[in-house]
Symmetry: C2
Amino acid sequence: MARIVMKFGGTSVANLDRIRHVSRLVEAEVEAGHEVAVVVSAMSGETNRLVALVDALDQETDLGAPIEDEYDSIVSSGEQVTSGLLAIALRRRGLKARSWLGWQIPLRTDNAHSKARIAEIENSAIGPSMSDGNVAVVAGFQGIAEDGRISTLGRGGSDTSAVALAVALKADRCDIYTDVDGIYTTDPRIAKDARRLGRIAFEEMLELASLGAKVLQTRSVELAMNNNLPIRVLTSMAEVGDDNPGTLVCNEDETMEERVVSGVAYSRDEAQITLLQLKDTPGMVAKVCKAMSEAGVIVDMIVQGISRSDNAANLTFTVGIRDLDKALKALEVEKDNIGFENIKSDDNVTKVSVVGIGMRSHTGVAQTMFEALADKGINVEVIATSEIKISVLIDSEYTELAVRVLHQAFELEKTSA
Amino acid sequence: MARIVMKFGGTSVANLDRIRHVSRLVEAEVEAGHEVAVVVSAMSGETNRLVALVDALDQETDLGAPIEDEYDSIVSSGEQVTSGLLAIALRRRGLKARSWLGWQIPLRTDNAHSKARIAEIENSAIGPSMSDGNVAVVAGFQGIAEDGRISTLGRGGSDTSAVALAVALKADRCDIYTDVDGIYTTDPRIAKDARRLGRIAFEEMLELASLGAKVLQTRSVELAMNNNLPIRVLTSMAEVGDDNPGTLVCNEDETMEERVVSGVAYSRDEAQITLLQLKDTPGMVAKVCKAMSEAGVIVDMIVQGISRSDNAANLTFTVGIRDLDKALKALEVEKDNIGFENIKSDDNVTKVSVVGIGMRSHTGVAQTMFEALADKGINVEVIATSEIKISVLIDSEYTELAVRVLHQAFELEKTSA
């Protein structure tokens, strides 16, 4: 007997038919002798509907009072409804089940409404209830803040709820059911020969998650890694009894496939900013980073170059595409302080990355990557590297070509051991 | 400065425009220097949508496990959303406001999920918050049961929430905003000269509420009467500054209008059952009542007669029209025990009542009533009386005629002192 947490996203509980289907998947695990907690998202579309109500009110004259506490109370109702419906569907199959809201567990968070972080999950009530044979149906995405109000964990927070709950319940495994059947070597819509990975290391998944492979939320992977909790990503569309192995996200030691590069990811959510003719004074980069940080903008890739014509420095970096306007305004304000002449920006760029834990011990990955891109005439604007990742910024027009070329260069279509 | 509770039903918060309008009505009370708590229902249609989801799941094979606890968790989300939206709308007008869910107050109930009764409302958190200048926006209809789960008070429970909260907060007044501008002497759709009452006594309102004048929920009127809390019924459709006196429901002493009859009510939700050729043994009526009580059927009017032909007794009584089948089945089972030959039933009947606290000290009301009905050839099947009410059961075809005739007979169209 194992204790497992199953998590179902919005498309997996989109309507009553899907909720009934989920109840059958849960029943199969219970019949296999497991203790089961199920974490559910809101029915797909429901969160958007609720957010639209808030936004419509909030677009009136803003008098400055924050409304995130009320936003949380409103938006969390979506998961509240789904958890109740699934509990009913399970009882209708003859199972013992009850729903748990964030405040009932309680799943305690900080006071950062609409983007709260989990502080503690009590298992003194939910644990014994599961031991008594009850399926625990948990409303994802929500908790209770220190102020006694409902909090939410931010978009995609249900993955984090599920992993955190699995840790608190000392579960053996956390199964994330979604609308794809696992993690792929790259986006199958771009490379037809993309292959589902049997296993992937936490670190690799973390790079992929933060790079736009939107299957798992970054925070949930971090949390799983820190607690060495295996996550299985699999599809909720399969029937009970179907072969549905998914992808196991686990410790490096347990990843049995011998490979240097595991996947090719891309992200179109980047924008490039270049500061021209910078006075190359000590602390100049620090000043830029400080200006961005104070504006709440996260700086990703940074590269410093020397302009050949006048020997002044240029500084190029990337920010999230949504933060571009905010970043440009903040830089304009600090223009004299930082000491540059002009700004150039471009939001028509894509970050393409190869990720693989094997890079740590293998050389030649960078060479293979740049040769493959150069062969196709793809110009690289910015480069950033980590221990297990090489990212390049390219013109968005070349996105699909670059992904396919790199997928091929690292022979990702071939099944490894 | 007074402390007041304002309650808005589903049509008053039907959409964002109506919610903004409510925020202006609340603002006017705050600007008048009052401490305000607002109780809100779900946006109209929302509760029905949620109940339909539950019903669709619940119509599958019933395996016997009750689901009322989950029903409550699901359906209460409607008021949760409205309370958050109104709090936002109030902040956007520059007011201090926050929403309160049943479990946050807490408003404690018993464990009778889906039809819970209020046990206790704590004012140790909400009271000080109001004293600090915050408008308390309270999700109506919901509480927290002894089992730590969300409970609901049953359909229309938001009126009861509002009155109970007003009592707990020692409020000076409870204003129930609705889609009519007060309590009328009878249904204005039937009698064009029906008149809005300035004041009405609790006891009268109680008889009217239980008789199908669906403006206020019976439980809320009982609660207000027991705690001597005045309720004002008024329309939420008026603009700020409009003349909108509504009807004050208050103690008899405070009703200044001198009148014998205050209103004519009718209810089509009745069905008549007659047991024919009863063995007239002691305890026979008790046996009938016991059978109905065990079947969960409430018996209303009862009359016993003697059949002229064979000297056997007949017993006629009324039940709620929804309980008719259940009642007939239960009677059939107990046929030999009760000792009757045949059952007749009729669901094409209407109960018409005249209600007035002045009846206590005035004679002749019954005479006026029966003469007026007889004049129009309206046959009375069953009569029931209380201290302040006379009800008759008539053929449904005569409903409108009877209401108009009685309204005229008691001169209710005339403005009293």
